[in-house]
C-alpha cells in the first residue's frame, strides 16, 4: 500500500501531483497509517512533520522555505522549516524537485531528485492565438505578457509593476489562485481561480511569460508555461536551475518533468525498495 499524506490534495479542484499520483497508482490511499508493512510506503508532505511509525517513509521536501528565509532574512517561516527538517531527518528517504534545493537536506542523508511532474498533455502549445485572444477578450494588436502569482513577496509582484511601467506597450494577463491572494494590477485582464485548461489557453494567447520569482527553482506555473512552449522572460532571480532554450517544451522532456517520466521514476523507486505498487 502507498499511503499519501498531503497538506492540501487539491485546493481548487485542480489536478495536482496528489490526484494524479492517486489515479496512476491504484494501490495508493490518502490515509495516515498506524503501521507499515515492509511492502508499504508513506509519501509524507514535509510540512506535516514526521509521522512516528516504523517503516519506509519518503519526505517530499518541495517547499522552498529555506530559500525564502535566506532571501528575505526573516524568522517568520522558522516553524515551518523546523517541521520540514524534522520530516527530512527521520524519514527513510528524502526527495526534492530541484538540484538547487538538494543541499538543504543533505545533512540528513541522501536526497533524491524526483520532479513533481507537469501535465504535458494538458499544458501544450495550442494553434490559433488570435482565436484564443478573441475568446478571452484580449487585444489582437498588442504584445501580451502573462504573469501568474500572488502578492507574496517571493512571487515578485513589485517586479511585474516595474516591468510594466517600462513596457507600456504590453497588455497584461494576471492569474491568481484565490481572491484573498489576488493582485489588482490596473489595466490588466485578471483571472482568479482559473481552471487549468483556461490557464493553458491564456498562456498560449500571450506572447511571453514573465517570471518574477525571487527564488532559484521554477514554480509549477513556470513549468506549465514551459510545457506550453511559452517564451520566458526572466527578471526575478537570474540564477535558475536551467536557462530555457528556444523550445522550452523540449526542455521539460529533456529534464524528465513530464508525468510519464515522473511515473517511471516512482515505479523504479518503489521496485528497488521492495514496495508493492
Amino acid at each position: 500500500m502507498i499511503y499519501l499524506n498531503a497538506e492540501i490534495v487539491s485546493g481548487l479542484g485542480e489536478d495536482t501531483f496528489w490526484t494524479w499520483f492517486h489515479r496512476e497508482f491504484p494501490n495508493s490511499v490518502f490515509q495516515e497509517p498506524t503501521t507499515l508493512r515492509d511492502e508499504d510506503v508513506l509519501l509524507r508532505y514535509s510540512t506535516l512533520g514526521f509521522l512516528p511509525v516504523i517503516g519506509k517513509q519518503v519526505a517530499l521536501c518541495w517547499e522552498l522555505y529555506p530559500g525564502m528565509k535566506e532571501r528575505f532574512g526573516t524568522t517568520i517561516w522558522d516553524e515551518k522549516i523546523a517541521k520540514v527538517r524534522e520530516t527530512a531527518r527521520y524519514s527513510t528517504y528524502r526527495t526534492v524537485a530541484s538540484t538547487l534545493t538538494q543541499g538543504d537536506y543533505q545533512e540528513f542523508g541522501s536526497v533524491e531528485i524526483i520532479p513533481i511532474g507537469v501535465d504535458t498533455d494538458l499544458f501544450r502549445p495550442l494553434p490559433d492565438r488570435a482565436a484564443l485572444r478573441s475568446k478571452y477578450g484580449l487585444p489582437q494588436d498588442k504584445r501580451i505578457g502573462l504573469w501568474v502569482g500572488t502578492g507574496h513577496p517571493m512571487k515578485g509582484y513589485g517586479l511585474l509593476l516595474e516591468y510594466a511601467r517600462s513596457h507600456p506597450d504590453v497588455h497584461w494577463i494576471t492569474i491568481c489562485k484565490t481572491k484573498t491572494e489576488a493582485v489588482a494590477m490596473p489595466g490588466a485582464t485578471s483571472f482568479i481561480k482559473a481552471p487549468q485548461a483556461t490557464t493553458c489557453e491564456l498562456i498560449n494567447a500571450a506572447d511571453f511569460f514573465l517570471s518574477t520569482s525571487l527564488l532559484h527553482p521554477f514554480f509549477m506555473a513556470e513549468w506549465e508555461a514551459l510545457s506550453c512552449n511559452a517564451r520566458m522572460e526572466i527578471i526575478g532571480e537570474p540564477v535558475k536551475e536551467f536557462v530555457p532554450s528556444a523550445e522550452p517544451r523540449d526542455d521539460v522532456f529533456r529534464l524528465g518533468w513530464d508525468r510519464r517520466q515522473v511515473k517511471s521514476v516512482w515505479e523504479r523507486f518503489f521496485s528497488e525498495r521492495g514496495i508493492r505498487w
Binding site: 511509525v53 516504523i54 519506509k56 531527518r89 543533505q106 545533512e107 542523508g109 528497488e272
Partner: protein, 347 residues
C-alpha cells in the same frame, strides 16, 4: 568535528583498503568536514604501517604492553588475552577521536548509503545507536542473534556489493529496536569517557578461564547505569564478512613462540565475534537483544555442550531477568537512591 569513525587494524592490507574505501564511499559527511575516519593500528604487523602511510590513510598506532594471563587475572580480566589488546585499541581510538560522537567499526564491515546519518538522527547523550548488521551464515558461528542474515560473501574477493546494496534498499526502514549488535555503534564521546571506556579485557569470574561479563557488555552496562539506552537503527545497514583479519591477511604473521593462532587470536573466537553465536531466538526477546547469554541459554536448553565460560541455564535466566530490570532503569534508580541516602547519612 561531529563524528569520528574508528577502525582497528592489525595486519590485513586488503581489509584496510576495503573498510577505508567503503567508509569513504558511503560517508559524505567526511568530504563535508563533519566526520573523520582513522585507523588504530593496534600492535600492527610488519608492513601494515607502511601500507597505511603509502595509501595516506589517517591512523594512530597503538603498541600494547604484553600482559600474561596471570597479570590480566590479577587486574580482574579473563580469557582470551588478545581481547585485552582489542579493548585497549578501542579506548585508544576513543581518546584519539576529535568528534563529539564516536563510531567504532570492524575492519570487515561494508557500509551502505546513509548508514551514518541514520545513526546520527536518533542520537543524543542518552542513546547509543547501533547499525543493523547483515551477516552471512558463518559455517562455525552462524548469525549473530542481533543480526539479519544475508549471503553476500565471506571474503573481500567474494563480496557481492550490488546484491548487498539491493538488499539494503529493499530492507531499510525508519525505526529503532531495543538492543542490537555492539558494533558499529555510535555513542557520545563524553559519555563513553564518563562510563570509564571499555574495560581492558573480558571481566573474569572465579578464574582466568571463567568470564563473568564480556568487555563490550560491561561497557554497555556502564553506559546503561548512566541512563544511556542501547538501540538499533533499522535504516543504518552494515555488512559483516565475519572473517576479521584472519583469512584476508597478506601480511599475516605468526607470533614467535606463541602456540595460538597468528596475532594471538584464540581459535575459539575471532576478534570480530568474541563470543559463540547461535541463531536468533525470536522476536519475543527483542527487547533483550543483544545478549550472548541467549546463545548460551539455547545451547544449554538444547543439551549442547556449553563453553567453559558459561554458567548453568538457571543462572543465565536469572542474569537475563536482572538485565531486563536494568533496562527499566530500576536498578540504576535504586543505586542512585542508595548513594544519595548514604551521602545524607555520612553528612
Amino acid at each position: 568535528m561531529r563524528v569520528s569513525i574508528v577502525s582497528l587494524i592489525y595486519q590485513s592490507a586488503v581489509l584496510a583498503d576495503w573498510v577505508h574505501d567503503s567508509v569513504l564511499k558511503f560517508t559524505p559527511l567526511i568530504a563535508r568536514g563533519d566526520a573523520e575516519f582513522f585507523f588504530v593500528a593496534n600492535d600492527p604487523a610488519p608492513g601494515l604501517l607502511a601500507h597505511l602511510d603509502r595509501r595516506g590513510y589517517p591512523h594512530t598506532t597503538n603498541h600494547n604492553r604484553a600482559y600474561s594471563d596471570d597479570e590480566l587475572f590479577a587486574l580482574g580480566y579473563g580469557t582470551p588475552e588478545y581481547m585485552s589488546r582489542v579493548y585497549r585499541g578501542y579506548n585508544e581510538g576513543i581518546r584519539h577521536a576529535r568528534g563529539d560522537y564516536v563510531v567504532l567499526v570492524n575492519s570487515d564491515n561494508y557500509f551502505s548509503p546513509d548508514w551514518l546519518e541514520n545513526l546520527l538522527k536518533y542520537s543524543d547523550r542518552t542513546k547509543t545507536i547501533s547499525s543493523t548488521l547483515v551477516e552471512r551464515s558463518h559455517p562455525k558461528f552462524g548469525v549473530f542473534p542481533g543480526a539479519v542474515n544475508g549471503e553476500f560473501g565471506g571474503t573481500v574477493a567474494e563480496f557481492d556489493e550490488a546484491a548487498f546494496l539491493s538488499f539494503v534498499a529493499a530492507t531499510k526502514k525508519t525505526g529503532l529496536r531495543a538492543g542490537g549488535a555492539y558494533m558499529p555503534t555510535l555513542f557520545h564521546r563524553d559519555i563513553a569517557i564518563e562510563a570509564g571506556l571499555y574495560p581492558t579485557g573480558n571481566v573474569a569470574g572465579s578464574d582466568f578461564a571463567h568470564i563473568r561479563r564480556y568487555g563490550d557488555e560491561a561497557f554497555f552496562d556502564a553506559l546503561e547505569l548512566l541512563g544511556v539506552e542501547h538501540l538499533t537503527a533499522l535504516d543504518s545497514i552494515v555488512y559483516h564478512l565475519k572473517e576479521g583479519e584472519r583469512e584476508d591477511a597478506p601480511l599475516l604473521r605468526t607470533l614467535e613462540g606463541d602456540s595460538r593462532e597468528p596475532n594471538g587470536i584464540d581459535s575459539q573466537f575471532t576478534q570480530a565475534t568474541p563470543y559463540p553465536i547461535a541463531p536468533a531466538i525470536g522476536p519475543v526477546y527483542d527487547p533483550l537483544y543483544p545478549n550472548p547469554r541467549h546463545a548460551l541459554l539455547v545451547a544449554g536448553l538444547l543439551g549442547k555442550p556449553l563453553p567453559r565460560s558459561a554458567t548453568t541455564p538457571m543462572q543465565l535466566l536469572r542474569e537475563m531477568a536482572v538485565q531486563a530490570l536494568r533496562r527499566t532503569h530500576l536498578l540504576g534508580v535504586a543505586r542512585r537512591v542508595r548513594q544519595a541516602l548514604g551521602s545524607m547519612r555520612a553528612s
